[in-house]
Structures are given as structure tokens and as C-alpha cells.
Symmetry: C2
DNA sequence: ATCATTTCTTGCCATTTGACAAGTGACGTT
DNA sequence: AACGTCACTTGTCAAATGGCAAGAAATGAT
């Protein structure tokens, strides 16, 4: 069936009737990205919410020195969007790029709001996504403070092995908060154990 | 007038009639904290949303090695709560402690929901708070990745001078992601310039 | 297959930060 | 005033990480 993953995902996060679930998911449109395509670029407003069915993406910003800093990796069966830009309708400070061919479903800010309006219980979904992303960020900030680079690497490879399958090491390095040189060394010392 | 700061704060974040503003703020109850009192302790559910009118607070968690890590400082005229715990009704992973005598206004999760229900435009307020906190966290994570400890210190003292007035240096150190020893050295080198 | 480009690794050295311990200073209690 | 406690500073040394440059490996274009 069409959009099955999306239906399942929403069902897991909100208690709506199957009929309402259908009404919700009907509003999403399929979208495809080639490898290296952008879902969002810095400076534009993120007007769409994306459910990534198949593929892998990364978010990144360019810092003052001109370096790319990866801020997040997005795997399939997750939602992808720039929280601040989407809700505040301000220009995005980050880019979201497909690292593999990807397939997903889009919904606009307007349509999402209409759904929130007509199905109050669906609001929970929006909030749940926000809270979830928030917690993830908090965890990451904490790890940056009190874990060594090696521990952060070790945790990442255990919890998100697929990242290493799809993302370049330099992207992973900036995500971990280290240089690619350091990551390379850490990987070496790991392989020697 | 009573709760003037709270009224102003909400007015700045949502377009409600003055009458509705009054209905909203009436539901908040005054609360006072002595220095070192806790608004929230780890393991308990954060059932209240606090608007801090006067005073200064910090959020912190205890990491695996048993060290306190300050995750946030809360100044007056801001809202204070644990996002994940409040919305997911799960045990808090952090403590929120008053660093000075404080006065604020509380509202329960239930009452807040009732207000959201009866005044749809007020929902925007809830979301705005979440988005704001989210952006702040993201900024901080980025700074931890691509700024030196010295730059982070310099930014903090420029943007949040009051933190240095109320918080102990070791709290500030863990917030900046460094040891109190390093902070001490950074401060020394700053004072020599 | 060849070549050019990009990514990754490695070596060398500098810098940043941490760990630990001793010392100083501030503060509150009695 | 004397004491104890806690916060902060400082010194010494070690460990972690970065900067740079050269080389190796992988990737993509022709």
C-alpha cells in the first residue's frame, strides 16, 4: 500500500482513528531527491515538513570561518525539517542535503495547520516531533561537554551504524565536534583494539 | 498592577485581546523560592510551567561520573521548565535550582492545556517558547563544536553578564564545557589584556 | 584505462585543556 | 577573633586535539 511507512509512523505518535490517519496522510505528496540534492538551503524559509521514507540526509551550516558543520543526520522513517525556520517562517540557517537517492512525503506548513485545526489530537504529533528533536539536541550538547571524542565516536557507531555507511567521514567528524584528522586517528586506534 | 511583567511577556509573543490576556494570566499563581531552593528535581515530573519574574536560576544534571553539569541559566522575565518532562510527562533528567531569592508565576500542565483549548491563538505562545529554547540549544551546540573555550567565555560575558553576577564560577565552567581550572585561567588571561 | 579531483590517512609539532595538588581568600558560625 | 568550609587560583605535568603538509586511496570524468 501507498505511504504505509508514513501511516505507521504517525499512528505510533498519535491516537487518531484510521479514517483520520487516512485524511492526514492523503495530504502528503511524494517527493524524490537525487544524491546530493538539497531539500533546504540556507536563507530560504523551510515551508515543508518532510517524512523521509527511503534514503539518508544531513543538515549542515557554514560557520564564520567558512567550514561546514554537520548538525544532524536524518535516516529513513523520520521527519526532516528546520524547526526554527518552519515554525517562525524565518530564513533557515542550515542546509539539508540528500546523501543518497531519497524518497519521502511532503506537507506544507499551511496544510499541516489545517490538519491541526480539524483534528486536535493530531496536534500532539507536531509537539511530539518537536520535543523529540529537542531532547536529542540536549543529549548531544551534554555529550559534547562531558564525553571525550573517542566516547562520542564509540556511541555513535553503536547507535547509528548506518551513518558510517552513507556519510563521508569529514561530515561525521564535524558532527562529532572534531577534525577529520582526529577522527581518522580515533578510528585507527579503534581498529587496533 | 499585579503580574505586569507576565502580561507584557505574553503580549509580546501572541496576539490576544487584552481580555484574553487577563484570562490567561489569572490562571498563574505566584510562587517564591529562597536561595538554593529547587523548582524541579531529577526524577520528578515537571508539571508546572514557571514564569520567572524576579531572580535567577540554573538547570543542571548529574553525569555518570557524578559531576554536576549546568545546562542552562534562567534570568528574569523568561519561562522556566523542563521541555521533555513537561510535555511527555516523564521523569525529569535535570534539576532546576534558584540561585537567588526568586519570585515567579506558575501554571499547571492541565490549566495550560485548558487555555490552549479555549484560546487557540494562545497555542502560538506554547510553540514559540519551545522553538525559542530549541534555537538557543542549537546555537550552543554549534558553539561547543566550532568555538574555543575562550571565545565561548567571551561571548557569554558579553551577552549574559548577569550570569557572572549570580552564578558561581564552577557552574559557569560546566555550562561552557570546561573545568573550573580552565575557566580560571581564561579569566586571568582576559584580565591581563 | 587514464587522469584529475576529492577524500582519507599519517607524521610532526603546537596549542588547548584536563588532572591533581597545594595554596589563598572569602564567608559564615560560634 | 578563631575555626572550618567552600570557592577560586595557580603550578606542574600529561593527555587530547588541532594545524599543516605530504602521501595514499577512492571516486568520478573522459
Amino acid at each position: 500500500m501507498e505511504k504505509q511507512q508514513l501511516v505507521d509512523f504517525i499512528r505510533n505518535h498519535v491516537s487518531s482513528s484510521e479514517e483520520n490517519l487516512k485524511r492526514i496522510t492523503e495530504e502528503f505528496e511524494e517527493v524524490r531527491f537525487a544524491k546530493n540534492d538539497y531539500f533546504l538551503t540556507e536563507g530560504k524559509v523551510c515551508n515543508y515538513y518532510l517524512f523521509l521514507e527511503e534514503g539518508f540526509m544531513r543538515s549542515f551550516t557554514i560557520d564564520i570561518e567558512g567550514n561546514e558543520v554537520t548538525t544532524y543526520f536524518h535516516s529513513n522513517n523520520k521527519v526532516v525539517f528546520d524547526v526554527s525556520s518552519f515554525f517562525s517562517k524565518t530564513p533557515a540557517t542550515e542546509n539539508i542535503q540528500a546523501l543518497t537517492e531519497s524518497v519521502g512525503y511532503l506537507i506544507s506548513h499551511e496544510k499541516l495547520n489545517l490538519l491541526f485545526h480539524s483534528m486536535p489530537e493530531f496536534r500532539e504529533f507536531g509537539r511530539a516531533m518537536l520535543v523529540k528533536e529537542f531532547s536529542a539536541f540536549k543529549q548531544r550538547t551534554l555529550a559534547l561537554i562531558n564525553k571525550s571524542a573517542e566516547e562520542r565516536y564509540s556511541n555513535l557507531i553503536q547507535s547509528n551504524k548506518e551513518i558510517f555507511q552513507y556519510a563521508q567521514l569529514r561530515y561525521i567528524a564535524s558532527f562529532l565536534g572534531i577534525t577529520d584528522t582526529s577522527l581518522s586517528r580515533i578510528r585507527k586506534s579503534f581498529s587496533e583494539k
